[in-house]
Amino acid sequence: MLYLLRRLAGFALTLLIAALVIFVLLDLLPGDPARFILGINASADALAALRLQMGLDIPAPARFGNWVWSMLQGDFGVSHTQRAPVAKLIAERMAVTLPLSVFAMAISMAVGLPLGILAARHRGKPLDTALMVMAQGGVAVPNFWFGMLLTLLFAVTLRWLPPGGFTPWYEDGWLALRGLVLPSLALALPQAAILARVMRTALVDVAGQDFIRTARAKGMTYGEAIWRHGVRNALLPVLTILGLQFAYLIAGTIIVENVFYLPGLGRLIFTAISERDLVLVRSATMVLVLAVSATMLVVDLTYALVDPRLRERRA
């Protein structure tokens, strides 16, 4: 319980500092959002009117305070350029980014973990070598590049799946799902390769430990011992990697969303930045940071849940 409180306090502090960093960075942004919205030939009084409307005349510390305070109440402000509540805009995009990251994560785990286990069980044999060569390639292929190749094959040539775009879930869940298949695959490939490598290393490490020998002494074959005792222990280091991978995945979605013209959070930030939409960039970045930090938190807590040693020491 104390551990949980302490970890939560650290989490909250990290978020607060992150908010400060984001605010300071974005407040220094060169460029006038009002001019961007109104464009080249806008008159000076039109600009002044818009600036006032956007609250750019309030001093910075007060704006920071207001921002954090209203975020805590679930109010993320109103986007300058899109004239819509930021919370609503972010929620719409999360309906794409969240399933995309989760699918990619699920695919990478479903592919990477078994392959890693397979390679570890056949350590040093041709199968291991073959799998690890594939993994090397998988890690090395840039995901945007892979995404494009996937589109050419499955969308342009075979026409099995859409080349991009996204149908909202409420309209047609099946179409929405289909739209996420290729991007998830593109995102998942390098992650699966990394996972396979990590899983293999962790399992090989565990395989050298005494309790595997104990399990074999109890009457298990090497394979059985690895499966029943090795995998669960090897998953502990893998868990840490999974947390880190989520950060990479989020970075990856921003790029992959561009390849597949998906209306995700990454593209929202991207367009918002080029449109100088301070309020939107700030809050959307904050949501991404929150997502990454929350994953780290969940990983830490899961760690404690899975490993009885930690549960006790930290409780």
Partner: protein, 278 residues
């Protein structure tokens, strides 16, 4: 570490040799490329490979081989500079955290958490809007992402070492914490840092490609492999080689680095080596 021993590992030798080959190819571009990369000649664009242009020319009539040489250099430079930032800030941070412990450790780890919470693309976007896109932007963004990685490696390594008796012996000999970190811990975690360095270098090269691809990395007239991919992607169906060549170069460099990294780990990690013998 005995260098001849290192080269006993064939995959390590292969990985290092390939990495070195690409690095040399890139470095060579500093003094010589078949054609200057700023030399634009629309009249000779999209040439197929021949004797005068071994890999053909691109959409502005620039020599592909020259571009790949220069692009490789940029990719390596960005990756290496980002690793340098990560090592330069992360390792001291990790060592300080491990040596001083307590609140210092807590603060250092919170900073590291904070850096982790900003995916490199986000940092790149933020920096790009502040100082404009460019290779520097990519270096900083990837570098910041590297800091917590190295901080954790250094901290973990230092903590594992700090329970060993020679650290106690050094304290008895009157060495301060900084001196112990410098003289006793750093040399012993160097192999960890080198291995992590190769991994981060390959990740950095990939990240640079990604950032250049979305327009936040290297800017013309300079070039990088990622930028070449970006320039060529819309021409993929018409002139596939323009994107296949830099793409292949990225894949090969990253694979070479990873093989070298794996080999180094096997060769340097005493725990693995002991396992091999026991």
């Amino acid at each position: 570490m005995n260098w001849r021993r290192l080269l006993d590992h064939p995959s390590l030798a292969l990985g290092l040799a390939a990495t070195l080959a690409f690095a040399l190819l890139g470095l060579a571009s500093l003094i010589w490329t078949p054609y200057p990369i700023a030399d634009i000649a629309i009249s000779r664009r999209f040439l197929v490979p021949d004797a005068s242009h071994l890999l053909g020319t691109d959409h502005l009539g620039r020599d592909m081989l020259s571009l790949i040489m220069a692009g490789t250099l940029t990719s390596f430079t960005v990756g290496a500079a980002a690793v340098a930032i990560g090592v330069g800030i992360g390792v001291p941070m990790g060592l300080v955290a491990a040596m001083w412990g307590g609140p210092v450790d807590w603060v250092a780890m919170r900073i590291s958490d904070l850096a982790f919470a900003f995916p490199s693309v986000i940092i790149a976007i933020l920096i790009a809007t502040l100082i404009g896109p460019g290779a520097t932007n990519a270096i900083i963004a990837i570098g910041i992402f590297n800091i917590p990685v190295f901080a954790r490696v250094a901290r973990g390594g230092a903590l594992a070492l700090s329970s060993l008796d020679f650290i106690g012996a050094a304290r008895l000999a009157g060495l301060g914490k900084a001196a112990i970190a410098w003289r006793h811990i750093l040399p012993n975690i160097m192999s960890l840092i080198i291995v992590q360095g190769t991994i981060q270098l390959s990740l950095g090269i990939l990240a640079e490609a990604g950032l250049s691809y979305i327009g936040l990395g290297t800017q013309p007239p300079a070039t990088s492999l990622g930028l070449m991919l970006r320039d060529a992607q819309s021409l993929f169906l018409i002139h596939p080689s323009l994107s296949l060549l830099p793409g292949l170069a990225i894949v090969l460099i990253v694979v070479a680095l990873n093989i070298a990294g794996d080999g180094l780990r096997d060769a340097l990690d005493p725990r693995l080596r002991r396992q091999e013998l026991a």
